[in-house]
Amino acid sequence: MKSKLFIILLLTVGLVFSVVGAASASGTLVFGSSGDVSGLDPADVTDGESIQRMDNIFEGLVEFESGSTLIKPCLATSWETSADGTEIVFHLREGVKFHDGTDFNADAVVFSFARQYDTTHPYNQYGEWPYWGYMFYDVDRMEKIDDFTVKLVLKRPNASIMTSLAMFTVCIVSPTNAEKYKEDAFKNPCGTGPFKFVEWVKDDHITLEANENYWRERASLDKLIFKVISDPSARLMALEVGEVQGIEYPNPADLDRIKANKDLKLLTEPGMNVGYMAMNEGYGYIDENKNGVRDLDSEPLVKTPGYFEPLTKKEVRQAINLAIDKQSIVDNLYMGTAIKAKNGMPPFMLGYNDAIEDYPYDPARAKELLAKAGYPDGFEVTLYVMPVSRPYMFDPPKIGEAIQSYLAAVGITVKFYQVDWGTYLQETMEGNHQMCLLGWTGDNGDPDNFMNVLYGANACSIGTAGNYAFYTNNTNQELLSAALATYDEEKRAAYYKKAQEMIHEDAGWVYLAHSNQNMVFKSNVNGFVINPTSRYFFYPVVIE
């Protein structure tokens, strides 16, 4: 009896400690991601986490070619643009069904668009629709022509509208689903994509499963799970022991180890991103008509909640730029997985101004400037520190601490403020911060998607801001608008270069780095392609 018990005990212990665990035979891919999503409505999110889930659930009228920013048909089979460039007619794909069984048709398309721009739309109240203001302010309306034909009407010609249409913001959602869940629709996403939503366990994981009725071939994966493992090392551990089959943002300190491991493969691509620290210059506007543009007459500048006297002074902002040794941060904290940034967009993009000379690391000069601005003894300032790692910023708390130490050297005391990612975005959009760490990954590869979204005065609207320094320079905005209105690339480049100079001089941002995108997969996972836009499409992925 006793010996039997002992054997059973031994067996249990053996089983429990067996490293093998459950074999990953099935078509399940668990992806270790750094943070949880803020919501699952494609039109109502801005963070990569949420977008990357939705890329697999939803589809838009058009989509990007894999690994590039070229457009190809998706839910629209073809389209025609009117001569003046203000009307585009889309012919929709027939026989597509949403995950809930609803038919995809013109009504669904109109619904997905109209709820964002039409304030009288019954579903308008359930979202903030933050991207609409950035990218689609030129859209007037979407009209149904017949069941499978729609017409997009623009207020004025916009060269980048087709790439914008490949964005998640205008993915088509199921109207019946939205009706069913109303304000909770964001928790119950329903699209036409290759994967269906199964469950979202907050702070833990999101499970998707293959859409059996997908209009293309069914995905190779049966199940796709996004598991939140916020700690990069724990994430790598989980990959190494086979808990997950792929991870994002590995700890740069671990890259050598990853390369040495035959069981793993490292994917690296230059990132279309920028990581920065923004300093709140103090003023924004309230976009009352929600047109995404600051109407100079009716929408005056008001103090942001995070208004902080010293940061309103250019000398101070320049001093802060001078006080931080970016090279050291890039070398030691990014560990060489990034290049030092001096401008607000990556160097390979159109209009990048390489002539600009970056602020050097010069604490002495910084102190002088501070004294000149009237703060010889420095001041205390609050820094919003991101709780999650992003492609453009690895381990923000560490970078925050580095900045804290550098600024301490010139007499500025930095206090940290940390909240969860969703709230973080919310609060920074509202301008609650004095300084914040943030960054940007391009959506469509157009410089406008950096310059206008991040640095334009129109993006200073309190509550939906993208310009986190609240750099409200209208001259600059005019340059950016002009760049968008013309199709002449040289002209555009010139406008952007000029704008970058102004931005550099104003010093509202400390640009830290443009980092490479690093992803690690088990070596038996094939087919994943890193996109410049940092969007994750798992449809082509195969586990062998």
Partner: protein, 293 residues
């Protein structure tokens, strides 16, 4: 009696000598206090160098070929000397502990004495409040208080002080209840001493033993709880070299092989708490056998 006369202090010292573990505990505590006082003399580096020496980030200490000079215990993720941060951390932790326990003592002694000495509705009221506070795990209560007060080391100290107050109040109360029943207190009533005189001249001096004993033990848990709050990011904020906060910043690097950043601050906490526990246990054995549980 032929034996030489022995005062209480002599007796205490003699009994302390027999209690080896208490002596050991005392030694640790003394070392800890010395570290705290002289941190700026003995620490090889600044705990928060500014500008930072990022190039030293996560470099190992004396045990490795790759060691970073002048940092015997290696460097943390920010390239700061772990040993120096631990030494300065002693200052932070001890201060936090003493302040928290001090708050608990002042409040606890006041309420405990009132409750125990006067009894009746005063006692009932205070004890009900104590019961309610006891319905929360200490750390949770501290967290709740921090939620209201806001994060930071100063707030954490206050929170822990408040959290420990009911415990101290109960100890004092039971001690007062016990002493109150002693005949030498009854004599005071027979003589006609005033309540204040009885409390300050007789009751409190005789409650010193449990106060010292539990104060010491409480100091140990205050340091632990303070570190716990720091670990959760609710206590000391960066770049304060607080042991718990150091841990929370460093433990993600153990996978990358930088075990030292997470190991040493923990050992510092462990040893200071062991020291205080040993000392407290020893003092309990020596001062007041009645307190043994």
């Amino acid at each position: 009696m032929k034996r030489t006369r022995e005062t209480k202090t002599h007796e205490l010292v003699r009994r302390l000598k027999y209690n080896k573990s208490a002596v050991f505990g005392l030694a640790i505590v003394v070392i800890l206090i010395l570290c705290a006082i002289f941190a700026n003399y003995i620490a090889p580096n600044s705990p928060t160098p500014s500008p930072p020496e990022l190039f030293k980030a996560l470099k190992p200490g004396f045990w490795s070929e790759d060691k970073v000079e002048g940092m015997p215990l290696g460097a943390d993720a920010m390239g700061r000397c772990i040993l120096s941060r631990i030494l300065y951390g002693a200052r932070v932790s001890l201060t936090a502990g003493f302040v928290a326990v001090g708050i608990a003592m002042i409040l606890g002694i006041t309420f405990g004495t009132l409750s125990g000495y006067y009894g009746g509705w005063v006692d009932a009221l205070i004890m009900r409040i104590v019961d309610i506070m006891f319905a929360f795990p200490a750390l949770l209560l501290a967290i709740v208080i921090v939620t209201v007060l806001g994060q930071g080391l100063d707030k954490a100290m206050i929170a822990i002080g408040i959290v420990y107050t009911p415990q101290m109040a109960r100890i004092i109360r039971s001690s007062v209840l016990y002493i109150k029943e002693m005949e030498y207190i009854e004599v005071q009533k027979a003589i006609g001493s005033s309540d204040a005189r009885i409390i300050f001249r007789h009751v409190l001096p005789n409650s010193i033993a449990p106060v010292i004993v539990y104060g010491t033990l409480m100091l140990a848990s205050a340091i632990l709880d303070c570190a716990a709050l720091g670990f959760l990011g609710l206590g000391a904020q960066p770049p304060t070299p607080e042991w718990g906060a150091m841990l929370s910043k460093s433990y993600s690097y153990i996978v990358s092989g930088a075990w030292w950043a997470a190991t040493f601050p923990g050992i510092a906490i462990l040893f200071s708490v062991i020291g205080l526990n040993l000392l407290g246990d020893g003092l309990r054995d020596i001062l007041d056998p009645r307190l043994k549980t």
